[in-house]
């Protein structure tokens, strides 16, 4: 049993690097043989993702660190907590729509808000707005699909993810706890930065 668990955890630690190596290998092969367009395409998108990660993730995580240390729990609870009313929604939209980057960049922010007392519904409204209403992305959407499409889609999406937020809060038990692994103090354990 113990050995099996050990093997599983080794696989868990290794597979990401194997995947990256596979893509890098396919790309290199395609690059030099000129035959494997598949490998070239995979390598190019991975490259795009890596650049995007390098540009967006460090500032996002540093801001989350500052937020956790400086912003008092009462402040978040008052403006976006379970007892805060609909006035919390504009705050969430403002926070989400001015940001850029992929949705996974918003996860640490969302978890941090949640831990500071933000109501679950508002956390999911934030995630919804981040995924579908970011202003830099909307300008791009207008360019390709036109104003009427973009405006209609945004206006229809807004109530949909507000409802998703409300339903999520209903479905989760009141005593729901976020996984301990998502705590900024527990994450990356075994890594010493100090």
């Amino acid at each position: 049993m113990k050995e099996r668990r050990k093997a599983l955890s080794a696989i868990g630690k290794l597979w990401p690097w194997v995947m990256v190596a596979v893509v890098a290998g396919l790309w290199t092969y395609g690059r030099f043989s000129g035959e494997l367009a598949f490998g070239l395409r995979a390598g190019e998108s991975l490259q795009y993702f890596l650049v995007e990660m390098a540009l967006v993730l460090p500032p996002m995580f540093l801001l989350v660190g500052l937020f956790e240390v400086w912003v008092p729990r009462e402040l978040v609870e008052r403006h976006a907590g379970r007892r805060a009313g609909v006035a919390a929604i504009p705050w969430m939209l403002l926070l989400a729509t001015v940001q850029a980057g992929p949705l996974y960049g918003a996860f640490p922010v969302a978890v941090s808000l949640w831990r500071k007392g933000c109501a679950p519904r508002n956390v999911f409204i934030y995630l919804g707005a981040f995924s579908a209403m970011k202003i830099p992305m909307l300008t791009f959407e207008v360019g390709f699909l036109g104003w009427s499409f973009s405006i209609a889609r945004t206006l229809i999406t807004l109530p949909v993810f507000i409802v998703i937020g409300l339903v999520m809060e209903r479905l989760l038990p009141a005593a729901f706890q976020l996984p301990a692994a998502s705590d900024s103090d527990a994450m990356g354990d075994g890594v010493r930065l100090s």
């Binding site: 959407e141 499409f149 229809i156 999520m168």
Partner: protein
């Protein structure tokens, strides 16, 4: 165009972060140090998983060619609509590929609801990124959120069909 919008937002993000760190450092060195450690530890903790998932997404994106999508999504009837929801949910596509592609699909005659279903599920539902999401929120919350977002994408598409026939 997206590159421009994206770049300027990234620059603003870095400037805000730099100013915030500087102000924090002036106000309290020890607290700033603690915040840096928190932030970097969190980033470090999720980085390998994220890399693996993104490599997997790259392989899937390379396997699904724009020609294939055009074939599946530009027909008529309910099939392209559900195909758009399904394909949009599996892959997480960056806006710089998704929007130009949606523009091409539109010119080739993909209907508004199909485009809306594709774009919305692309942005709100990500099966391949589930492990990363679960790392932060747990599997239960992540599965619930993605399931509801899929229903949401369906509703948005239906709404679009109603507003922009």
């Amino acid at each position: 165009m997206e590159q421009m919008g994206f770049n300027s937002t990234v620059i603003v993000l870095w400037i805000i972060t730099g100013v915030a760190l500087l102000v924090s450092f002036i106000a309290d060195r020890r607290k700033t140090r603690a915040s840096l450690i928190k932030g970097l530890k969190m980033l470090w903790g999720v980085l390998p998983l994220l890399l693996g998932v993104l490599a997997l997404v790259s392989l899937v994106l390379a396997a699904v060619t724009p020609e294939m999508l055009q074939q599946v999504l530009s027909g008529s009837g309910p099939l392209p609509f559900f195909a758009a929801l399904g394909i949009g949910s599996i892959t997480l596509m960056p806006g710089f590929i998704a929007y130009p592609l949606a523009g091409v699909l539109q010119k080739l005659g993909a209907s508004t609801p199909v485009l809306a279903a594709f774009i919305t599920s692309l942005m709100m539902v990500g099966v391949l990124t589930l492990p990363v999401e679960a790392r932060f929120f747990g599997w239960r919350v992540s599965l619930l959120r993605n399931g509801l977002a899929l229903v949401g994408a369906f509703l948005v598409a239906v709404g679009m069909a109603w507003v922009l026939p």
